[in-house]
């Protein structure tokens, strides 16, 4: 029997103004990162409801990363400051429930940081892959 190689599924929420543009720049510069990373565009990192993150895990994601403008550089001035608080609390709660810390991350990536975007995704995908399948949140999934 052939063992199927495990490939993690990673959802990346990127704000339209910085990180999505940073991802585009990574593309322009042909900087590779795993295809396991799928990007969802949001206007601002503060648009990301913790429900979206849990939903992703529920539906089988192995890791969720949220990228936004650097603090102080938010297109909407303050959005990412709220994001920072929300995610700090959410991630702390997930850890408290015994979920692996490496499955969630917030990273600030500017429109000029294509290299940082690619490096971040490589690193994140590697860490998530090392954890293996998302068994702990698997139970959280809808069994269809």
């Amino acid at each position: 029997m052939q063992v199927k190689e495990y490939k993690p599924l990673i959802v990346a929420f990127c704000c339209n103004w910085c990180s999505y543009a940073g991802a585009d720049l990574a593309g322009n510069n042909r900087l590779n990162y795993p295809a396991d990373v799928k990007i969802i565009r949001v206007p601002c990192s503060c648009r990301v409801n913790p429900m979206f993150i849990l939903r992703a895990f529920q539906r089988g994601a192995d890791g969720v990363i949220l990228c936004g403008c650097h603090p102080g550089d938010c297109h909407y001035t303050s959005g990412n400051y709220y994001t920072r608080r929300r995610m700090a609390l959410l991630f702390s709660m997930l850890d408290y429930l015994g979920i692996e810390r490496e499955r969630t991350r917030v990273e600030w990536v500017s429109a000029a940081e294509g290299a940082k975007f690619a490096a971040t995704m490589n690193d994140f995908a590697e860490k998530v892959a090392a954890l293996g399948e998302n068994k702990r949140l698997e139970d959280l999934r809808c069994k269809k």
């Binding site: 599924l9 959802v11 339209n16 999505y20 543009a21 991802a23 585009d24 990574a26 593309g27 322009n28 042909r30 900087l31 590779n32 990162y33 295809a35 799928k38 990007i39 969802i40 565009r41 949001v42 206007p43 601002c44 503060c46 648009r47 990301v48 409801n49 913790p50 429900m51 979206f52 939903r55 992703a56 539906r59 089988g60 994601a61 102080g72 297109h75 909407y76 001035t77 303050s78 959005g79 709220y82 929300r86 690619a118």
Partner: protein, 664 residues
């Protein structure tokens, strides 16, 4: 059910090189809602766009997905294409299979698989898209400038010169602001009055500008393009239209001992006064706290001497309502109070003064007619000590002073020191500083001239204590470079007091829903890219209300603010971004969370009547988003516990559909 068309672009070989475009368009054909799917070499080309237009018409498409380059590249293009074919432009979604797929993944099977998933996510989203129409609102072609200092004057002149009406509201009896109180200006040493007063006259004579002096803004309603502002015109007890500014009343008034605020209380004026000779408007004002007629009904001298019949003791505050399209805040600054700085003996000795007081002492129109004399005994000071950073760059935990650098003090202190040595070469001038900061055109050269040509003693170190002893002021200080303690017997000590935003700014910010930083300076919409706009649409910032600034910087910011206002007022209608927040009133709790996180003040509350199933009515507080003000960040949607608040174009359901499509 939507009828969705999918258009997969090859982008030459940019996409097709690592993504099997045929497979992608085939796979997406089977997605729910998709009725048509194709691929083409260059979707953005005229031929490609024609394919889209034809398909929209032929297949009666209600939504399209273009799998192509980044939406940052061609979303606008394809929206226009859709609109040209009669489809709402917001029924278009882009799957980014170039920058985020073909360009970063090398192997065809991997790239193809990912492209299909990205396409599926876009299809899932379009299934939930609804046509959106940007809101339009008219623009009132008139601007309000709050504050009549050099910032407000310059902004008003620039806007008016472009042909738009401008009103200036100034709380003092005259425009001119702080600059009118200055003697000379650095680094060119031209006299402040010589460059300011002609501008004041220009303002007064400009047919597009009205000045509301001795007035305040008392209420602001509305939003960008459509502000309703109430201006409170304080009673000055003089009819402005009749007063000729002859000044006879100000000479005859028997109440002679009123502190003259224009000279910072260093001399006196009458109860009826004109702040200074070049005041605009040149109209007298009665100070009600000192006028005997207003206080006790006894006197009436001014009315008797006024040949124009302009005095009116019964005048009341007047409220004027006016509409504006844009508002510019130019409320400026004040030096901080020296009350907490006992160590410098400001309240103990008349000969310890602030730099602004020094300006008046050296000004020809000042209390000493421009002769540098000690306030206490009118003697010529032989040793003068200037202390910099008084209240600036303080420790965050210190209970007095400000954390920030007040920016202008290094330069004006250099100016004071230089002018003193120039006019009175026999005086010894010391300047104590932490650092000397001279970034600006010709600034460092100016400072170096003070040291090298004029022999001003610059000493790095802070003054610890100033103690009055006899008619001398003993200044104890440390010289950090020489590492020794100094004791200087001074005749005059000048404190470079930190500057802070005018006290009126805080309540004004609340009225305008414009945000402020912890120091009460107005915050800009973006610190680098939108420095003269406030986050609140239609509200602009000019001058020191946004942060400490010198005159050239203020004037350039004032002009920039004016340019932004002109750009706004030049429009007949404002077309909004349709991807704005919207609250479902049935689900809204009215809890105010959304309002608190909104950076633009776009959310207000109203009491709304609901008909209940049992035919009773219920009044509930609900949130209402002003689509003309909302910028669509979506922050409010997350703090809304009931999910009543959602963002059009990026709705909860849409994003979750994308998540599901990716995770399937």
């Amino acid at each position: 059910m939507q009828r969705i068309g999918v258009f997969v672009c090859w982008c030459g070989s940019n996409i097709a090189g690592t993504v099997d475009v045929e497979a992608v368009s085939e796979a997406l054909k089977r997605e729910p809602g998709v009725v048509f799917s194709t691929n083409y070499q260059y979707m953005c080309s005229q031929a490609g766009q024609d394919i889209i237009k034809d398909a929209i018409k032929e297949h009666r498409l209600t939504g399209i997905v273009v799998c192509s380059c980044s939406p940052r590249m061609h979303e606008a293009t394809f929206r226009k294409t859709a609109a040209a074919a009669g489809l709402n432009p917001y029924m278009v979604e882009i799957a980014n299979i170039r920058e985020q797929c073909s360009w970063v993944h090398k192997e065809m099977p991997i790239g193809t698989e990912k492209a299909i998933i990205l396409g599926k996510a876009a299809v899932a989203k379009v299934n939930l898209n609804t046509p959106l129409t940007p809101g339009e609102s008219p623009v009132t072609k008139r601007a309000l400038v709050i504050g009549g200092g050099i910032a407000g004057i310059q902004t008003a002149l620039d806007i008016a010169d472009a042909g738009f009406e401008v009103d200036i509201v100034e709380k003092k009896p005259t425009i001119g602001g702080k600059m009118a109180q200055l003697d000379k200006t650095f680094p060119t040493l031209d006299c402040a009055a010589c460059i300011l007063t002609p501008k004041m006259v220009d303002v007064a004579q400009h047919e597009k500008i009205r000045i509301f002096s001795y007035s305040e803004v008392s209420e602001v309603k509305g939003f960008v393009g459509n502000f309703d502002v109430t201006i409170k015109k304080n009673a000055r007890y003089v009819k402005e239209d009749l007063c000729t500014g002859c000044g006879l009343c100000t000479e005859k008034c028997p109440m002679k001992k009123c502190a003259n605020e224009f000279n910072l209380g260093m001399d006196t004026r009458r109860a009826i006064y004109i702040p200074f000779a070049q005041a605009v408007p040149k109209v007298a004002t009665i100070d009600p706290d000192n006028c005997n007629m207003l206080k006790n009904g006894k006197c009436g001298v001014c009315a008797k001497v006024c040949t124009a019949g302009a005095i009116d003791y019964t005048q009341k505050d007047e409220y004027i309502e006016e509409k504006y399209g844009a508002i510019v805040v130019a409320t400026g600054f004040n030096p901080i109070s020296m009350d907490k700085f006992d160590e410098f003996a400001y309240n103990q000795s008349k000969d310890v003064i602030t730099s602004l007081e020094f300006e008046r002492l050296t000004n020809a129109a000042g209390p000493t007619a421009g002769k540098l004399l000690r306030p206490s005994d009118g003697k010529h000071p032989e040793t003068i000590v200037f202390v910099q950073c008084v209240g600036s760059r303080c420790d965050a935990c210190a209970e007095k002073g400000k954390e920030y650098c007040s920016k202008i003090c290094c330069m004006y202190t250099a100016k004071h020191a230089m002018l003193t040595r120039d006019k009175y070469p026999d005086t010894d001038v010391y300047v104590f500083y932490i650092d000397v900061r001279t970034p600006g055109k010709n600034f460092d050269e100016f400072y170096r001239r003070a040291v090298e040509e004029y022999g001003v003693h610059y000493i790095k170190g802070m003054v610890g204590k100033v103690s009055p002893e006899g008619d001398k002021l003993i200044v104890q200080a440390s010289d950090l470079l020489a590492d020794k303690q100094l004791k200087i017997e001074a005749d005059l000590v000048v404190l470079a007091a930190a500057i802070e935003p005018d006290k009126s700014a805080r309540s004004l910010a609340t009225m305008l829903t414009a945000s402020m930083d912890t120091n009460d300076f107005f915050t800009e919409a973006h610190p680098k890219l939108r420095p003269v706009e406030s986050p609140t649409a239609g509200v602009f910032l000019s001058g020191a209300c946004q942060g400490p600034k010198d005159i050239p910087e203020t004037v350039s910011q004032a002009g920039a603010a004016a340019a932004k206002v002109i750009g706004l007022l030049a429009k007949d209608k404002l077309v909004g971004n349709p991807c704005v927040a919207h609250s479902n009133e049935m689900m809204c709790n009215g809890c105010s969370s959304c309002e608190r996180v909104c950076p633009y003040g776009a959310i207000t509350y109203e009491a709304k009547e609901f008909r209940m199933p049992d035919r009773t009515t219920l009044v509930r507080r609900i949130a209402v988003v002003n689509p003309a003000v909302c910028q669509g960040c979506g922050c409010c949607t997350v703090v809304c516990p009931s999910g009543a608040m959602d963002l059009k174009g990026f709705a909860n359901e849409q994003i979750m559909a994308e998540v599901d499509a990716i995770c399937k």
